[in-house]
Structures are given as C-alpha cells and as structure tokens.
Symmetry: D2
Amino acid sequence: MSKMRAAIFVEPGRIVLDEKPIPEIGPLDALVRISTTTICGTDIHILKGEYPVARGLTIGHEPVGTIEKLGSAVQGYREGQRVIAGAITPSGHSAACLCGAHSQDGAGTKHGWKAVGGWRFGNTIDGCQAEYVRVPDAMVNLAPVPDGLTDEQVLMCPDIMSTGFSAAERGKVRIGDTVAIFAQGPIGLCATAGAKLSGASTIIGVDRLPERLNMARKLGADHVVDFSKVDAIEEIMRLTDGRGVDVAIEALGTQGTFEACLRVLRPGGTLSSLGVYSSDLKIPLDAFAAGLGDHTIVTTLCPGGKERMRRLLSVVQSGRIDLQRMVTHRFKLDDIEAAYDLFSHQRDGVLKVAITP
Amino acid sequence: MSKMRAAIFVEPGRIVLDEKPIPEIGPLDALVRISTTTICGTDIHILKGEYPVARGLTIGHEPVGTIEKLGSAVQGYREGQRVIAGAITPSGHSAACLCGAHSQDGAGTKHGWKAVGGWRFGNTIDGCQAEYVRVPDAMVNLAPVPDGLTDEQVLMCPDIMSTGFSAAERGKVRIGDTVAIFAQGPIGLCATAGAKLSGASTIIGVDRLPERLNMARKLGADHVVDFSKVDAIEEIMRLTDGRGVDVAIEALGTQGTFEACLRVLRPGGTLSSLGVYSSDLKIPLDAFAAGLGDHTIVTTLCPGGKERMRRLLSVVQSGRIDLQRMVTHRFKLDDIEAAYDLFSHQRDGVLKVAITP
Amino acid sequence: MSKMRAAIFVEPGRIVLDEKPIPEIGPLDALVRISTTTICGTDIHILKGEYPVARGLTIGHEPVGTIEKLGSAVQGYREGQRVIAGAITPSGHSAACLCGAHSQDGAGTKHGWKAVGGWRFGNTIDGCQAEYVRVPDAMVNLAPVPDGLTDEQVLMCPDIMSTGFSAAERGKVRIGDTVAIFAQGPIGLCATAGAKLSGASTIIGVDRLPERLNMARKLGADHVVDFSKVDAIEEIMRLTDGRGVDVAIEALGTQGTFEACLRVLRPGGTLSSLGVYSSDLKIPLDAFAAGLGDHTIVTTLCPGGKERMRRLLSVVQSGRIDLQRMVTHRFKLDDIEAAYDLFSHQRDGVLKVAITP
Amino acid sequence: MSKMRAAIFVEPGRIVLDEKPIPEIGPLDALVRISTTTICGTDIHILKGEYPVARGLTIGHEPVGTIEKLGSAVQGYREGQRVIAGAITPSGHSAACLCGAHSQDGAGTKHGWKAVGGWRFGNTIDGCQAEYVRVPDAMVNLAPVPDGLTDEQVLMCPDIMSTGFSAAERGKVRIGDTVAIFAQGPIGLCATAGAKLSGASTIIGVDRLPERLNMARKLGADHVVDFSKVDAIEEIMRLTDGRGVDVAIEALGTQGTFEACLRVLRPGGTLSSLGVYSSDLKIPLDAFAAGLGDHTIVTTLCPGGKERMRRLLSVVQSGRIDLQRMVTHRFKLDDIEAAYDLFSHQRDGVLKVAITP
C-alpha cells in the first residue's frame, strides 16, 4: 500500500505533516492527485480546537488537481483530467440535495437533512492538504478546469469564491443596491466581489487592515471604512446620507459585526450572514424594529457541487474578476506547518497561501 | 363643527370614550363612517403604555364602514359605498411603496423609508374606534366590500388576516410543507389558516388555552400541542418523526417562542416572525448551526393597501375560510371601555370583539 | 432467466401484453414488483405513434409496488418496502439536477442538460406496465409509501398529481388569485386541485364533459365553463367581471387552449402550460399586447425524484385532497389491452384506470 | 397663455415642430422645463403610423430637465431642482401598481389593470420633445439628478437603460450565466450592459452593423456575432460548445429574433423579450420541446417610477457603466425634424440623439 504525505490534525494546537496510505476508492469515488490547495480560516478553527474533528483526520477542503483514478461506476470523466471539487461535496441524492440545499446534505440520515452535512473534506472525511484525496460522489462533484487557467486562478473556487458570492446571491443583491460588507478577510473580499458582480452600485467594505481595505477597493468596494479610526455604523450612515444599506453582509462571525449589520440596514433590508459564530447572538430590539421592520436574515454555507464549480470557473475564465491576487504566499506541502503558522497569525499581510505537494 | 365619539388614549392605563370633532379631509382623503371595528393586541400594548402614542389620539386600526365624503382629488369611489381599509395605509408614492414594501412607507422622509411607517391609524393619526375616521391616500387604501358579505365576515381583513397570512407568504410555505405556529391567539390562528391555504400538509399549532387549540384545529391545524402539558419542542420533533419543520411561525413576540421556532426548524428552514417583541432577542448558537445552517429569518408587518384588501376579501367571499367565528364578543362603541377590559384580560375565551358605533 | 408479463409497444396502433425477462439491475438500481400502475394520456400518444419510442419497449411510468431487490450500492432502503417512484427518474448528478431542473436531466450528455431527459420509464427505458420494473438511481427516486395508504390513494403521485400541481407552483399561484384551467382531464383536474391548495380564491375549470366538470367542482373549481355551450373566453371575462385571471393553466396541448389562456390573462399575468403540443403554436399579437404586457409563459414537465414524491404523499396522507376518486375503472394487467381500448377512446366517463398485475 | 415649441404628431409620416400652450398642471402634477431629451425607436413607430396616437399629441418620453412649477399637493421637491422622470409614469395607486406592475397601471379603470397603461408621455398625454412637459403624479415619478451628472449621462435612464436592464432582471440573469442578446440597437446594447452588471460570465451580442457590434463589446459582450456573415444560431451553439444559453434576450421585435432566442436556449432556459412586435408570433414545436422543456418566456415593458430612476442614476453615478457614449448626435429642438430624419433612417451610425430646447 502506497504512502503519501498529508497534513493531519493531531490535537488542539497541532496540525502536522505525516504519512498516510493513499486513499482507496469505491465505485462512485475518484482519486485526485492534488496539485495545489490552500488553508482556510476554518482550518485555523480546527487547529485551535474550536471546531472539533477526529484525531488523525487529514485537513483541507480546497482541492485543485488531476484525476488519478476513477471508481468503477463513474462516467463522464477520464484519468489525467484537471479538476477541482467544491469544499462541500454533496451526494446528490438526499432530500436536502433534491431541494437544492446541497450544503445541508443528509445522505444516510433518516430524513435526508443534516446541518452542515455537505461539508465532508477535512471535516468528516480526509481532506485535501495531502498528495491525494478521495472525492466522494465524483459525478456530482468533479468539475473540469478549462484549458488555460492556472491552479492559482481557480484555487478560490472551491470555497471562498463560492461562499463569498453566495452572500450576494442569498441576499438578492441586485442592480442599483447599496451593500456593506463587514470584514474584508478572504471571504469578505469575495463577498465584495460578488456584490459588484451582482450589480450593486454602492459597495462599502469595512475592516481595519490597510492591505485588506486596499484589496477591497480593487475587488469592487466604492468606499472603505477603517473601523479602528471611525465608528463604522456612523460612517456608513454618513456615506449613504442617512438611508442605510439594502443588504448588509456579515463575513467575520462576531456579535459586533452581526449587530452592526442590523444597525446599518434600511427597513425591509437583508442581513446576509457568512460568519461562523462561536457564541449565541443577540438581536437588539431597536435595530430589529421590534420585529416589525420587514427584515430578512439569511445564513449560507458554501455552495458546492460540480455545476456551482463550473459557473465559478466560467467567471474566472471570463476575466470578470481576478482572485489570484489574493494569493500572497506560496509554500510546498512539506512546509505546510510554516504556512499554518503564518496564516493563523495573519502575518505579512497574508490573505491566502498556495500549497503545492 | 360636528362632534363624534371616539376611544382616546389618555395616559398609560387609560383609554376612554370621549367626544372629538369629526375629522376634516384633504383632497386625497376620504371620510369613512365606521360600522364595525375591533380591538387588537397592539391596542393593549398602547393601553399599557408599552407602545407609546400621543395623548389624545384615537385608537384602532381595523375599519369597516361606509364612505361619508371623498376628497376633491379622489376618483373611482362614490359616497355611500361600503369599504374597508387596511390597518396599514401606505401613501403609494414613497420609495418603500415603489419597492413593494408598503408597510415601511417613508412618505415625507428624506429617502422614502421609515420603519413601521405605513402604520398610521391609531399610531400616528387618529384611528377607527370612533364614529368616523379619515382615511389618508384614499385611492391607495379603500377597498369596496363585495355585496353579500357582512361586517363581521370582513372585520379580520384589515389586520389579523393580512398579518397572519403574511407569515405563510413571507415564509414561502408551499404544497407539502410541514409548518409549526407558536401561539394561537388571533394572529397565530390566522397564520394557521394561511399555512393551510398555502398548501402545507402538516400544520402544528402550539398554545395552552383549550379554546384556542380547538379553534386552531378548525382553521387548519392537523396537530395541536399544549405547551403547558408537554415540551413543545420535543413534541414537534416527535410529531415530525425527528425531521423538524420547513417553516416555523412566531406569533407571540417572546424569546421563548422565537427560540423554540429555531429549535424545531430543519436545516435550511425558515423562521417567519410576526410577533411584536419587547426586548432583545437571543439566537442560540446550536439552534443556528453556528451560522452554517442555511437558515432564513423573516419578519413581517401587516401588509396593507386596497389590492391586498381586495385579495383577502376574495378569500372570504370564496368561503375558503371562515374567520367570523373568531368574533366571540360584541359591544357597542359606547361600551368600548368594557370591551378593553375583557379583551386585555383575555376573559371568557375572548378571541376578537366586534365594536359597533 | 425468469419471465414476466409486460405491456409492450410493437408498432403504431399496437401495444400488447407479452412476456419479457425480469429486468436485471446494476449497483445503483432497484427492482420493484409492481402492485398497481395506470395508463397516461402520453401512453396514448405513444400508442398512436404520435410520440416515438423504440419497438419492444415496455410502456408505463406510474409505478406503485414493493422493492424486490436492491443494487449493491443502494443504501437507505430494504427489500419488501412499499414504494413509489416518479414518472421522471432523474440521476441526481447532472448539471440540470444540480440546478433543480431534474426533468431536463442530461446525465451522460456533454453538458448535463437534455430536453425531457428525466423521463425514462416507458420512454427511453422499460416502464411500469409490467410485473417488475428496474428503477434507475434508486436512492434518488424511491419514496416509501406511508403506512395506511392504499395503492390507489397514491397512484396519482408519480405523474398527474406532480404535473398538475406544478402548474400552480410554476405559475406562482398564491392566496387570493383568480385562476382558469383549460381542460379538465386528469392533468387539468390535478391542476385545479393544485390551484386550490395554493390559495387561489377563484378557480374556473373549462371542459365540455359533464363528469369532468363535476369532478372539477369536487376538486376545487368555484366555477365551471362548458365550452361546448358558451364561449369560454367571454364567460371567463364575465365571471371575472372583465378583470381576467392572474394565472391561466393550459392542460390539453392545443393552439385553441393555449391562445384562450392568453386571451383571459390580465396584463402581467402568467400562462402556465402543461400540455404536450403536436404542432407549432401561435401567439396572437393582440393577446400578447405586442410584447409589452409583462406576460410570463412557463412550461413544466412533471417534477420527479423521491423528495417530490414524499411531499405529494404527505398531501395525500393529510387528507387535503382525494385523488383516488379519479380511478374510475380497474383492470388486471392481463386485460391491459382492454384498458387501453377504453382509455384511448375515453369511454364510460373514464378518468384514470388502475392496473394490477 | 404662454406658448412653447413642441414636436407634434400630425399624421403618419409627419412629426413637426410647432407651437403649443405651455401645459397647465393639477395639484399632483409638476411642470418640468426640458433641458435634454431624445428620440426613441418607438417614436419612429409612431411617425410611421405603426403605433397609433392622437393627432396633435406631443411626442417623446425621455425627459431631463428642471422643475418649473409644482402642483399644490406635491411635497418633497422644490422648484429649480434638476430631475428626470421615467418613460413610464405610474400613478402609484392602481391595483397594478400595488402589485409592483407599474407599467400595466390601470388607474381609472374598473379593476386597476391596463395593458401598457403606465406609458403616458407621448402616448396618451403630451410628451417631452418640447420646452416643457407636465409630469403627472409627480411624487411617484420625479427623481432628482445627483450633482455632478450631466444631462447626457442620465439621458438613457428614463427608457432604454431601464428597459434594457429589465431584460436581465426579468430573465433572472445571475452570476455565471451565459446570455445571448439578439439585436444591438440602443435597447439591446443596454440589455448587454444589464447582463454584464448581473454577473453573466459569457455574453454574446448579435447584430450586423459593425459600430453596434463594436459598442456591444464595450458594454459587456464577450463575443459578437454578425448574423449577416454567419448563421447566428449555429455560431452561438458553437461558442457555447453545444450547450446553449441560460437566457436569451430578444431586443428587436421580429419573428426571426424571437425564434432564434428559443433555438439557442438550453432546456429550462429563459427567453426575455423586450421587442415591440408587429405581427403574431410563432413558437416552433421543436424549439419548444413540445411544451415539455421547462422553458420560461417573459416580456417586459420599461419599468418606471422615481425609485427605479434613483437606482439607475446610482448606477450611472457609480461609474459602473457609461451609456453617454451612445449619444452619437446632438440637435437643437428647433432641428428635431432633421433629427427624426437621421434617426429613422439609421444614418451615420446613429445610436441615440440628444435634443436640447
């Protein structure tokens, strides 16, 4: 049985590079040889023990690579093909999937719904920070990479591009909207780009790091607000001349940003939440108009599946936006522990790292 | 200047019947002679001083009556016509109205949005618990009552029918859904009826008063849950065989019911909130899947305007549902103080009272 | 190799009962022993040679039965379980499926879209008018029948109930709508029931056969129009007092009914088309307001998949509507040729036949 | 009574500049002094007698100007303010308006719906190719022009920008879609821009005039197809690798373009039609999958009202797109007959003309 290197969760505080057997595949699976992957903020939650996964699990959910081997029942692909798969790998046959809620895939459960059930890579099955990964339900999940696109150009598709765009989509951002995005980390930056692509005419990005605010401008923000220098709520109300925003996007996962979103919304507006929260949330009575403000709050987990990937790849291919510029640092898989160190401490203006086996 | 009787807010704890001048009308208004009106739970909030209104204001926002006089610019109506108007009387020309958000009508404000701005009767202008009421923007708000319908048959249209149905509409209840409605007061009962009309195949009503649970069954509940006898969340999970509900409707305005809604929702489900809350709300982290459950939370203020009223009247006329049975008590306007006393203390199994000048 | 009886398309004009091998199944399939099935209007098109299928194909796409055998990769079911499957059996993994357009499933095609591709039973693979049927992609398609429901109670779920309801769903029928349904055959009757379940307050059914108009009343029509006695368009305009309808449903597949739908629509209304047409359609300029009327035209092929079936089964189980009464005649599979004869000539007031092996 | 100059429809073939009284205004109206207006393709239909209007009517429906006088009941504006109004001027109070279908405004009719009823300027009331225009229902229709925008920058908002964008909006173009737009006249060019703003990743513009195809590229087309040189349907299928498009936009009003839209649509796709047709349309059976392809056809009349204008102005202000470049020729109002001559014959590569009194 051949071996490969993989980044493995050992215990809170420790993700290490180690050897594991190359995965075996079932009839509906594919084995993908990873050419590039990355580290996500969620992986840092795992590293810190804030999000529990099994010890020994391979981490990572953003695969770019090449088909090494196809399961016996998989049709429509060929070995050697360059592919990506989404961070979320739905089964395609659960009730959730058949309702279009692939991220809440409950395949194998009694009723077919399971909260966050579609997230398997690096969560409930071995992930992508390795030389190889087993992709389950390959016919649902593998998306060919168009010729001419580099690994780094498509590296954001599996997770942050899909997640960030979904904030605008679920928030129903439309032509002429005013949108505020709280936090301009990788997800928030992609939400900013998604709002731009959806036709918002006034986009306001909030953060405190200059390099992130700078990147926000490049990706679509008309205004940026440094919340370390001004009161973000007041500033947004000033920028909108007192009107507030149509859609407020939460891209951090804290009470402060959640609440700020509500406070800058116009009546009838939508709070589109992407953050992974770590404590109960409070909805302030006044910002909620006591429940009479026709508000909408939506939360979204990264949409996955090969068709989602195909659409995102087509956006990259069209040149509409360039997310490759978010790759600020590059590491070999052998040096992934250093990459975790850099990324988890947000050093050197890091936005995203590219990891190559 | 002629006088009329009207129920007037004097101070917290006191709504009294008094004399006032019959309202004068402007070019876009209508004067309506009230034939039947009612008392709403919101009026009790006003009575108790929990919702502030100006002293001297006439209370009430559910008018059934006859056009006494039309403003000079009003076309399409005739004096003597039987009409209703919604509890919410939008202007038709604000930005909010032009976006379809009539309840958040901001006519006269800088940007055209104002939280709860569409609610004027008995809130910001004199209301309907009187012999006459001035209906602003009459061409937007007056809906003729079809021949053959009695006052009591249409009495629920202006507020609780419109509000209750909107829970199902905004929650996007559709054929085959499972829906739970927390609290079966007048609004919750109408939400139950609205879920039935929207095609829900499993409807679960929650309350503790037997007469309300009984009425819930009549209006569409397949199951009723007495939360004073069983744990409502457990019971709903049992009734749904562990699946949870597609849409949970909050019809009371408390933390307990709000939170219970989240706890019985399947992943990807919708919490449709009607309640008027009186304190901050808490979203429990677990029930919210840490923000990753693809949840939707919507709040709705009673939809108004003549077209909304026309549609509701057509539902009454079709015999699809009978909300007249919710009228449990009848009073003359002269006795409205006694009606307030009964209604505010929920005595005698009261659901709704009919008040006739 | 065991044999079974099956209704086989021989040539235009001839569907005969013959012997065939019991189907073999692959890893994702299930073998279902049919306990009840039926004949659809589409089968008559096949019989007449108007819709081409391969010679030797087993006809029929409405299976009720018991799982005889499960493919090696199928999980979540057990042999002996009572199940139905939809007339449309999507793969779950095509681009179309991942977009929620399961009926246009293009599994195996280059881009994953294929017009009418989800319809396989009795079209591109052997169907259900037989003792056994192979159900492909069993985990996507098999829906357990709740205890206590008879075969005939659930017999309409696979096709006509799903199709009929979809007219209301795709037409976005909502509370208070006025809806006209042209033709009250089995599909049109189910569309009538679907409009009722969706909250339409005025439903107008059009046909000429008294038993169908009678059934239309039972299933939800407030008014019925016998087009052999009155001009249907004029009558609908009279019934709606000149307003026209919000949604017009075409349930026959002819130019006359399609055009009549457009002519009774109010501006901004929706034509929801279910019919299988056999020639080009004409859109009259005047009825289309020269393209400026904000009209919507939608066509829908029967939605399938196990979750759709589960939802429809829950409607049956709730007792909301009773479609069993549409079963007017019963035949043994051995007598299916007689059943075809009766059904194709619409004799004896036949609506639907139940066929039992 | 003061006089002004105005372009008046005399008879088919003749629109002439003449003198008329400056309009008088009612309590809800505003008098606007026109600073810039333009000629629309629809005006050419009127000129040719293809679209009938009353003799003596002032033509034109695209006003940019300054408030000269406000009706007695108009609030929220001031004289001297720079404003635009939409080509469509809804009343705000009809049933159609209250349903969000402002273009089908039936104010004054029995039921409140009237096909194309929202179009009044230069159709049922005097229009804008004059020194002054009366704007009805001013509070619904007047939108202030943000400081810093020139007349020509906002000149497309009232009609072609609103109409063109609506094709993408009603067609529900979303991130990653493939869209084809048939005809790249002013409306089609704006539809191209609208598809871009809505996130389409592959946009294909079809026309035969090089200057229009060139402009299409500037406004968002990734590919342009000259139908005089290649078969447009074949070319679009080639460009999409056989997949077809998600949304096809018709922007001309002919059978050929309408039919081509259907032929390039993938199953489940949407035909979004803007064209003003002049004869019955044919839907080919094959392109329509016999009614089983889950197709959607939507038609849209230019959305109007001040909130629509505000949103479009915000898009202009944001610099997202520059439609001013479509102004290819400029005329004084005194020379409007020459402008009609140029525009109606599409000479000199004309796209839009600016007319200044």
